[in-house]
Structures are given as C-alpha cells and as structure tokens.
Symmetry: D2
Subunit: 220 residues, 4 copies
C-alpha cells in the first residue's frame, strides 16, 4: 500500500484529505495535536529532519499552516518550514506527487491594502507557491509538484478573521445576506486534491486556484 | 437549450471543447475558417461588435489564438481581441461562465531567455490571463470568470515550433527519447474545461495550469 | 545630435520628458494633438508603420496612453499599440534605449477589487510592462529596454478619476486633509527617466516603480 | 545624527552602503563576522529580538543574505529572518526608510529551468520582495518601504556560481569574450540605494531592479 504523508492532517483541509486518501493509501498525519500519527512542531528543524529521515512518501501533502497575530510564528511555519520540507522531500522522493497547499490570499491579497496579519499570511503562502512552481518547472525529477490555492474554507483556522464568512447552506438560505462570503467545505477542497492526484501520468496541474462567490445571485 | 459560444472552435482545443459541449449545449463556433458557424476575423473590431450584439451566451469560451512570425497579428488576435471580447461579454452576460484559454507559456516563458515569437505569444496570453483574474476577483457580477493555461497540446498550431514535441504514445513507446516533450491531447484539455464548468455554483476555478512531463521515467 | 522619439509627447509626463531631453537630443513628439511633430492616432496600424519606417531613434519613449470609459480604445492604444511599437522599434534600432512608461496600477491594482475602468487601464499597462521585461531579459540585442511605472501624476489624464488626488503643495498645506493622495509632478517623473537614461553603459534599470504617500505625517 | 542599521554590513553591497551612509549617519553594521558592530547570526530568533529591542533606526537596510548548498540555511537567513526583521522594524519605527535588498534572480530566474540552489535563493529573495511591496502598498504608516533587486554584483558571495561573471574592466577589455556577464560594482549599487533614500518626502521607489549587459557591443 502506498504511503501518503500529510502535514496539518488532523484538522480542516488536511484532515479531509487524510480521510479521503485513507481509502487507497496508508496515511500518516503530522500536526501539533496529540491526535496526529507524528505529533510535533514543524517549525522545529530537528522534527523536520526526523520526518524526512523516517519517511519516503508516494504522496506528500504539504498543508500545515496557522493564522496568528504572532507573525514570526506564521513566517516560520507557513513559510520557512513548508518550503524547507518541500525541498527536502523533493530531493528524497524518487518519484511520486507533492501537493503544496497555498491560499487564494497569495494570489490577490498580498499587494492590496490589507491588515498586516493577512499580509504575513499571504506572503508566506506565496513563498510556498513560488517555490512549488519553480520546482515544477525545473523538471529535473519525475515528481509531480503541484500547488492548490483554496479560498476561505470552513475550518477552525479562519474563525478569528471571519465574521462575514458563512457556510454554504447559510449563504443560500439567508436571501438578504448579500455581504456574506460563502466558504468552501473542506471535503470539496480534498476532492479537488484527489482529482489532481488522479490525473494521468503525463498531466501535471502545477497550479489550481479555488475561489468562492461573494454574492448570492437570484437567477444564477 | 443553453448556448455555448466558442472562438477558435473549428480546430485544436476549441474544436475539442465544441465537440464535448455539444452534448448539452447549443454550440456556436467562431473562426476564420469557413467551417465555423460564424466565420470571420476576430482582430476586426466590427466583427467583434457583431458577435457581441447577436449573442448572449451562457458559456463563452474565449479560446481563439494564433502563432505567427507576424507579431502584430498575434498581439491583435491573442491579446487585444481576446481581452476586448472578455470585457464585452462580461458586461453583456447577466450570469453564466467565461472560460479564457491562456497558455502555460504565460506562466513561465515570458521572463526567460526566449525567442521573440515566444515572448510575443506568451505576453499576449498573460494579458488575457491577468484580465481574466482581475475580473474574477472584482466580484461585481455573478459571472464565473475562469482561466485555463494548457501546456503544449497536440494541435496544428504548435507544429512550426515543435520539433521536440511528440504525442503521448510516441513519448512512451520510444524509451530512449529523453528529449521529447509529451504533448497533452486536445480532448484532455477539453475534459478539464468541462470539469471546471461543472463545478457547483459556489466554486470558481479562477486559474488552472496544465503542464506535461518532460522526461519519461521508468518507475514513475 | 541624437534622436529621441516620444509618443504622447505633447502633454503630461511625455511633454515633461520632451522638454528635458530637448537640451541634448533632437526630439520628435507623436500624439493625436496637432501640436505634435507627428500628429496621428497610434491605434492605427498604418500610422505605426509610417513612424517605424521613418525613424530610427536613439531613445524611444513609449509613453502614449489614455484613460477612457471606452475600454476598447484603452486596450488598443495603451496595450496593443504600445506593445506593437515596442517590438517594432526594438527590432529596428541597432542599439540605444527604450523607455516604456507603464503605471503603478499595473503593480497593485489589477488583482484588487477595482472598477472596470481601472482594471482595463491596469492590465493594458501590465501587458506593456511584461513585454518590456521579457525583451530586457531576453538579452539578444544591445538595447537597454527599461520600464518605469509612475504613480498618480498631476496631469490632465487623471482628472476624471481623481477627486481625492491633490497636488503636492495642497497636500502639505492642508494639514487636516488626511484622505488626499499626493500626486507626483510630471517633471519629477521626467527627471527620474533622465536618470535611467544616463546610467553607465553596463547598468540597465529594467523596472522602476514610483509611489507617492497617501498620508501626511506630522513628524515624517 | 540619524541612525542607519545595516544587516550584512561588513561585506559586499552592505559594506558599500555602510561606507557611503557613514558620511551622514551613525552606522551600525550587523553580520556574522566579528568585524560587525553587532556580530551574530540573524537566523537566531533571539538575536533578532535583541536587535529590535535595542535599535530604532531612521534607515534600516535589510540586506544580509548568503548563497549556500545548505538550502535550509538560505531559507532561514534570506527568507525567514529578513521577512521577520522587516515586520518587526516596520512596526517599531515611527517613520523613516526601510531598504530591502532582494535580487534580480527573484524577477526572472525563479520560474525558469534553474538548478535548485538558484531556485532556493531566488524564491527566498522573492519572498522578501513580495513582503516589501505588500507593506509599501498597505500605506498604514509613514514609512518608506523600498526594495532594490541588484543583478550579479562583484562580491565574494557570487564566486561559487560565477565562472562566467567578470568585472566591468575585464568585460570591456577582452573584446572576444562574448559569453561574459559584466558584474555591477558594489559601490554602484550603494549609490543607487543612496539615490532612493534621498528622494523627496512625497516620492517612494517601492521597486527598482538593476540588470547588467550580457554582451559587449562595439558601437553601443
């Protein structure tokens, strides 16, 4: 049975990916939570070295991230640790697939007038995406390096900055709620990741962005 | 029956999309060829105005492009005409989906050391992509504005610059042919476009890039 | 005496550049205005061909642009015509310097939530900038291809969208006017262009962006 | 006397900036070398905290970087540490100027077919540049946040990957040496940084790229 290693695999999108891949892969989750198969803090260089030493995954889902007013923590986990793991597993894996989970904020927020917490989050995710694309286009190994940039997804992480984000059902039920942003569900993002993984051997999706509708439209 | 308008719809990716959408949509193709439902030259402002006046498509596939050593022709058709049609149909359509067909060259070739024909092609396609993303993220209308950037695809267009591009079958049969670039097939790109169109109402894919493998790997 | 050809050379930034270069160069201005040395409409392919046939400038300042609710006009003049002239003079000139005048809107506005007039303006200017950078980095001719992206400048062009843009003096005099955006003066941009042109032979400035302060700060 | 804090200030571009600013500023240099006013390793979170606690510079030149086959070291120093210092000094300084020193490789190399050492270097520098631009455009403080991206400069750092880079003099003396890349001199980059710092109060240069000529041209 092939091995899928998933960072941030106990919550949100990472958990949804773990659940969906478990049908076909041996799944190992990494997270700070004690529920993880490999509990630990990815911003710790030794923990990253331990993981790279121990595992040679067929699928590596580079997903762990946090949202915090401690910018240094975000820069370390979402940026440095994710990019470092990407290089290390890219160099260790003989083949297979790497899915980097960036963010739509890396597409459009990072140059707009945004509060600093969004800038710090977006530029770290953009760093991950740029490195993902660079390795994908370098083409010096038969590894599929792909990057998905989900929009606001209905997870715990988004709650601190999310008062106008609402679940899909609420968005469509409350017909007067024009200011709501409809969040994608974690399993929907996970299904798209699965679709990317299942492409034929000769097709790579180096970049896929998901957005969600801002407005409810009556005759849409 | 809903209407799908497809520019460049008589050959290559556009034809494959027309064939696949015809099962569910009334399809109108636009191209310079007499085989098109609406034959004409899209770089002609009057022809564009005629199309916009006559049609209000549910799906607009903004696909027409050419590859030519007449750079002005490429700038006019691939850049100006495509961007102008995008604005015009975006403003006319009350809702629905627009698929802009850009190119992977707009992702990675335009800042590298490339011959001018590739630069002129890539920057025009990047212009289309940037405008597509801008309208998608402006979110002022319930229209899904999406952009797909295919890699080298097995069409007539690529032949003049393609001596090391080969079809999938040849790529995998000739085990010593490491310098070949395996081309995607038009129907594969068309199926991905169909997948984008068929997303649930609340999911938009503003950007999706397809790449193909450079090398054949034995144990891939 | 060396020749400097300046499109949009009768008003705004273009006029300021013409005034400043006239001290050392024979200056030829191109514009729709009858005051231009070469009056004509750059969106006309034949007029562009005429200019390219007639002139081989040492300095080509690719500056003409307009701001209009007729998006097609902007796409044609600011995008297509400017990019076409860039390729044509790049290929004709044996050496020398090309200065493309893009816009800061091409840096930061094109992916934000902007009204369509700003999107159409910004993406056309981004098209010019991307092509400028691509030719600069292709390095196949000893031509210095440079791009400057000015912020809001105190010219006639900006007036229709400019109610909160104010001249430098007003910005600093009215101490309570915190919502004003301080505009750069045309001659300041022209002096920076002159600085770019005067760099030593081995130094190229492929990209320079000018921004202006949003807020007045007391102890700045 | 105003204070200028310069990381990487004992060698290369940083030293040239220190030398040039010392005429008007009290200069404090930070580097791993014992020659620095503040010797230490910037990838150490505590050393960064110490610097931010101790200094409130008028000019902060965020310049320290290294080139190494230990990618983790580059990711930590060139990416994480530089971005973290940028946020921390941006938040501590009441006004003044921050100059982030990125690299032309962040402009054009990171998506081309490059060896991994260049990718790791370029994407970390791009991370710094993207964060610099984001803070510059957020405009919520009267701080001038600027970014300069020099081309290959004649410093010790470039030697390991530089067999075809040559000093300006050699480039112009050896008339048959067409494959050489002419390096900028550190003091030339420092003078451009000084020019950026000396702009009038209302003019910011959020982005300036320096490139150098690839080819020697006889009649250039």
């Amino acid at each position: 049975m092939k091995l899928a290693l998933i960072t941030g695999g106990t919550r949100g999108i990472g958990k949804a990916v773990a659940d969906i891949l478990r049908e076909e892969y041996k799944v190992v989750t990494v997270a700070r939570s004690s529920e993880a198969d490999e509990p630990g803090n990815l911003s710790d260089s030794k923990f990253r070295a331990y993981l790279v030493e121990k595992y040679t995954p067929d699928i590596f889902v580079n997903n762990a991230a946090l949202l915090s007013y401690n910018f240094e923590e975000m820069i370390q986990t979402n940026g440095m640790a994710a990019v470092d793991l990407l290089f290390k597993f890219y160099n260790k894996m003989p083949n297979g697939t790497i899915i980097n989970v960036s963010s739509i904020s890396a597409e459009k927020n990072f140059l707009a007038r945004e509060p600093q917490i969004r800038i710090a989050y977006a530029t770290a995710k953009k760093y991950l995406k740029d490195t993902s694309l660079s390795l994908a286009y370098s083409k010096n190994k038969p590894i599929k390096v792909m990057c998905i940039s989900p929009a606001a997804t209905d997870t715990d992480m988004i709650k601190p900055i999310s008062n106008n984000y609402v679940p899909v059902e609420e968005h469509y039920t409350n017909y007067n709620y024009y200011n709501s942003i409809c969040m994608t569900r974690p399993y929907e993002v996970a299904n798209i990741i699965k679709w990317m993984i299942e492409q034929p051997e000769w097709i790579v999706i180096p970049e896929l962005v998901i957005d969600n509708h801002y407005e409810k439209s009556v005759n849409w």
